[in-house]
């Protein structure tokens, strides 16, 4: 029986799970000062044991990278080394208030500075900011920097961001949020920028181009230099979406390809845990000429002292309170330190080898839209012998085999897309087992399609009714009680 009781349903009046010392000063009564106070606060009442059992039982309904293979394309679900967690919990690093004097946090600033240098080295960028809280947040900071750059040159009219239609959904959303107009250009059949389309889309309002390389089909944009030239000649800047950095560490660098601004996703490339959807980290890197626009404060080193420099009059300003998701940066630092230069390159090589190994075998059973050496991920498009089978059904059936599903229905330019990214931390044996499952499913699709249509069968819950959720809109326990009455 799947555990699904709500904590509110476990509540019994009078129970509690906390302990505090007795109040050792006189108690105030804010009501005496005419402050409106609340009469009721209906939080659950449970004991400590109740609490632990509740969350433990809930956790068992989750899949996780520590449990098994998570081949989500563009998500880089690699193993999360345990030492990262230990480092992030060292009291002398963790128990710091963001407004402590700089003199009392020199150790942490030194660590962060070292991390910035590592990130600059991997990316070929000149200056970094660790402030953005996530990839999409980094994108936003980066695009604001591009806007600021044009603005301060008197080019206010440059308000168009071009991106390929294969781009991650955050790209257009970010451009709009930064106040840009978005122009999507069709990609060629390989998901790459179509140079002719690009040229046609450019006019005097061009602010910049957003790209990810390798692109969302897992293919390297071989003519990136030409694209960079075209954009720069037209007065635009190039933004690099770092989602796919795991393919090229130590092999190629965005800074060398002509990109001017970029973000990393440390929760992808540098193994910080996804935490069920966050927190992540989206540090950005820029070329020297864009450094004046970085969000403040900028972490700098002067005479063996580390400072948080707010003296950047042209800065875009603050993106987030304080200095970013520091706890996540500690983990990224830990990861890069344990990998080293050789380890990072090896990670990218193995990630690419694993992807090609899988692609080579799976293309026999599944449609492979583009037959070409891939980088860290590749995209399939349906079962060869059962063209009507939907990717959704395949994905749900994979859950029965004990695997997480790949990314599905993305990129949008491939019908029934299934995007597989194995990462370097999976063994050949795991990849083989996963492929056997996909092959078995392809067979089932022909012989007993109902197995797929009704999948999953063995998970904590069966296929979930999303339509009912969207129509009923039961978003809280109170909504649920109202619905029942």
């Amino acid at each position: 029986m799947t555990y699904n009781r709500l904590i509110f349903e476990n509540s019994v009046p009078g129970k509690y799970a906390y302990s505090l010392p007795e109040l050792d000063v006189p108690e105030v009564n804010l009501a005496d000062e005419d402050v409106p106070l609340r009469e009721d606060l209906d939080l659950p009442e449970v004991s400590e044991g109740d609490l632990i059992r509740h969350y433990l039982n809930m956790s068992l309904n989750n899949y996780s990278i520590d449990k098994g293979f998570y081949p989500l394309g563009s998500c880089t679900m690699k193993y999360n080394p345990k030492i990262n967690e230990n480092i992030a919990r060292i009291p002398g690093l963790a128990k710091l208030h963001p407004y402590q004097p700089n003199s009392t946090v020199q150790g942490s600033l030194a660590l962060l500075y070292e991390l910035q240098e590592y990130l600059a080295e991997v990316s070929g960028m000149d200056a970094m900011s660790l402030q953005p809280a996530a990839g999409a947040h980094g994108e936003l900071a980066g695009l604001m920097i591009i806007k600021r750059y044009h603005e301060l040159r008197g080019d206010d009219h440059r308000n168009v961001i071009i991106l390929p239609d294969s781009a991650h959904g955050t790209n257009p959303a970010t451009a709009a949020m930064a106040g840009f107009k978005v122009v999507e250009v069709a990609s060629d059949e390989e998901g790459s920028v179509d140079v002719e389309e690009l040229k046609a889309a450019i006019d005097e309002n061009l602010a910049g181009l957003m790209l990810t390389n390798p692109n969302t089909l897992g293919l390297f944009e071989s003519h990136i230099e030409e694209v960079a030239q075209i954009i720069h000649d037209a007065g635009g800047l190039l933004y690099y979406d770092g989602a796919n950095m795991n393919a090229i560490m130590g092999k190629a660098r965005p800074g060398d390809m002509g990109f001017d601004v970029m973000h990393f996703n440390v929760h992808k490339t540098f193994s910080t845990p996804h935490g069920g959807g966050g927190p992540g980290g989206g540090p950005i890197g820029v070329k020297e000429f864009l450094k004046p626009y970085l969000p403040v404060p900028v972490l700098e080193k002067t005479d063996e002292k580390y400072i948080l420099n707010y003296d950047y009059p042209d800065s875009i300003g603050k993106m987030k309170a304080f200095f970013g998701n520091y706890g996540i940066m500690l983990r990224a630092f830990s990861y890069i330190s344990t990998m080293g230069s050789e380890g990072l390159r090896n990670a990218s090589e193995m990630a690419v080898l694993n992807a090609n190994y899988m692609m080579h075998r799976l293309k026999k059973t599944y449609n492979l839209p583009i037959e070409k050496v891939c980088k860290h991920e590749f995209v399939l498009s349906g079962i060869k012998d059962s063209p009507k089978t939907t990717t959704l059904d395949i994905a749900k059936r994979l859950l029965d085999y004990g695997f997480h599903a790949p990314t599905v229905y993305f990129p949008l330019i491939i019908p029934e897309a299934m995007m597989i990214e194995p990462t370097e931390t999976e063994s050949k044996a795991t990849l083989d087992k996963f492929m056997e499952a996909l092959e078995a499913i392809a067979k089932e699709a022909v012989e007993s399609p109902e197995l797929l249509a009704e999948a999953p069968h063995t998970t904590p819950v069966r296929r979930v009714d999303e339509v009912h959720a969207a129509k009923a809109l039961i978003l809280t326990y109170k909504d649920m009680l109202n619905e029942e009455n």
Binding site: Y409, V467, A470, K471
Partner: protein, 124 residues
């Protein structure tokens, strides 16, 4: 001449006097899948041809409803607020907004039913 027209965005408009009723075609509803929400404009809104006058939401998509005609929104189908599935059940019978138009000639740009059927044939 029929008073029913179609757009390339798979919407239909039905002219009644100075008013047109705007809805989505059966093909559109089948492509969207289960419709879970319809965002309606406000009455008295002034709209121009090409404006978005609403959003039709399914679980996996949200599509703008574009008006092919200019005018003033005079009525919205409030029934859809509680029962968006009506569009799935009968897209042609359930209009979404009614617009009082200024310029009937805008309708000339649109397809009649036969033309739309051909258009669908071409798309498929």
């Amino acid at each position: 001449m029929s008073n029913l027209f179609f757009t390339e965005d798979h919407e239909w408009v039905r002219l009644e006097g100075k008013k047109v009723y705007l809805g989505i075609s059966d093909y559109a509803q089948s492509q969207l899948g289960d419709i879970v929400y319809v965002e309606l404009p406000e009455e008295d809104d002034e709209v121009s041809a090409g404006d978005s006058v609403g959003v039709i939401e399914s679980v996996k998509s949200a599509s703008d409803l574009f008006t092919p005609v200019s005018g003033i929104v005079v009525e919205v189908n409030e029934e859809l607020e509680d029962a968006p599935e009506l569009l799935n059940e009968d897209a042609m019978e359930n209009w979404i907004v009614a617009i009082e138009i200024n310029d009937e000639s805008e309708l000339e740009e649109l397809m009649d039913e036969d033309e739309y059927k051909n258009f669908l044939g071409d798309e498929a």
